[in-house]
């Protein structure tokens, strides 16, 4: 698995971070608003956002003096690509077996 895929799974392996992702799914939010909605402190929210940002799951933007965070859908691509390759290999194996079977039945 690529490092980025493992990083994404690490980032999602925390309940608070998943909660943050769910809140952000409804639209961009500032840190303070997130902290109000979650049972954790503002510094803790900032820390989680930093991890999510490093995993490229969220992106940050500034409006005046406030910083907003929103979901970056492309961030999940690495994990998806990894499993995509796994199933591709497995189904290729299956297709090869099916080819053999069809030859057997018609010969």
């Amino acid at each position: 698995m690529s490092t980025s895929a493992a990083t994404v799974l690490d980032a999602l392996g925390d309940g608070h971070r998943r909660s943050i992702m769910e809140h952000l799914a409804e639209g961009p939010l500032a840190v303070g608003v997130l902290a109000d909605r979650l049972p954790i402190s503002r510094p803790a929210v900032s820390q989680h956002l930093r991890v999510l940002k490093e995993a490229e799951l969220v992106v940050e933007s500034a409006a005046g003096t406030r910083r907003f965070y929103r979901v970056n859908p492309a961030g999940l691509a690495a994990v998806r690509e990894y499993f995509d390759r796994f199933w591709s290999t497995t189904l290729d194996n299956f297709a090869a077996l099916a080819e053999t079977e069809s030859t057997r039945s018609t010969s």
Binding site: M1, T3, A5, A6, V8, L9, D10, A11, L12, G13, R18, S19, M21, E22, L24, A25, V71, P73, L76, V79, R80, Y82, F83, D84, R85, F86, W87, S88, T89, T90, L91, D92, N93, F94, A95, A96, L97, A98, E99, E101, S102
Partner: protein, 157 residues
């Protein structure tokens, strides 16, 4: 655990095979051992057999060469010849976890007489994230999953 769509990780693969749906379904479920990447097993001994019990609620498990059985998940929907839904309950640490449910849906559609298209969707992969630390070790080691898959492509090709 949430099923919010934004954080859902899903993959979709398709393949077309020269068999009618009935035979494709049968091959996929009854002889999974013959196309499953054999290094991808969770038992202590080598993989001898992959079993999908043919009914709703049936078990999905592997049997090692030592005879020991390890659960992988269960059959959520057994609807031959068109549809099969398996619950993959193997966590990122490669242990069976009854709390974990990722879904593997496979549909078999007749494209033309004697030819079937398989659509495979593996949903909720993000749920494996709970044990991502362990997963990282498995995937990054040279003998890990990624390495063995590369070998298998050569074998099959």
């Amino acid at each position: 655990m949430s099923t919010n769509s934004t954080t859902e990780i899903q993959v979709h693969r398709t393949v077309s095979v020269p068999l009618p749906p009935e035979r494709a379904f049968d091959l996929f479920t009854a002889r999974m051992s013959e196309f499953w990447p054999s290094e991808h097993s969770i038992g202590e001994s080598a993989l001898a057999e992959v079993v999908v019990e043919p009914s709703d609620g049936g078990r999905w498990f592997e049997r090692g060469v030592d005879g020991a059985e390890c659960d992988w998940g269960r059959v959520a929907e057994w609807a031959p010849p068109g549809r099969l839904v398996l619950l993959w309950q193997i966590g990122a640490d490669w242990r069976f976890d009854p709390e974990l449910e990722t879904e593997v849906e496979v549909t078999f559609t007749e494209e033309s007489p004697g030819r079937t298209r398989l659509d495979l969707r593996h949903r909720h992969l993000e749920r494996m994230g709970d044990k991502a630390e362990v997963m990282r070790g498995v995937f990054d080691s040279p003998g890990g999953w990624a390495g063995t898959l590369a070998n298998l492509v050569d074998l099959v090709g």
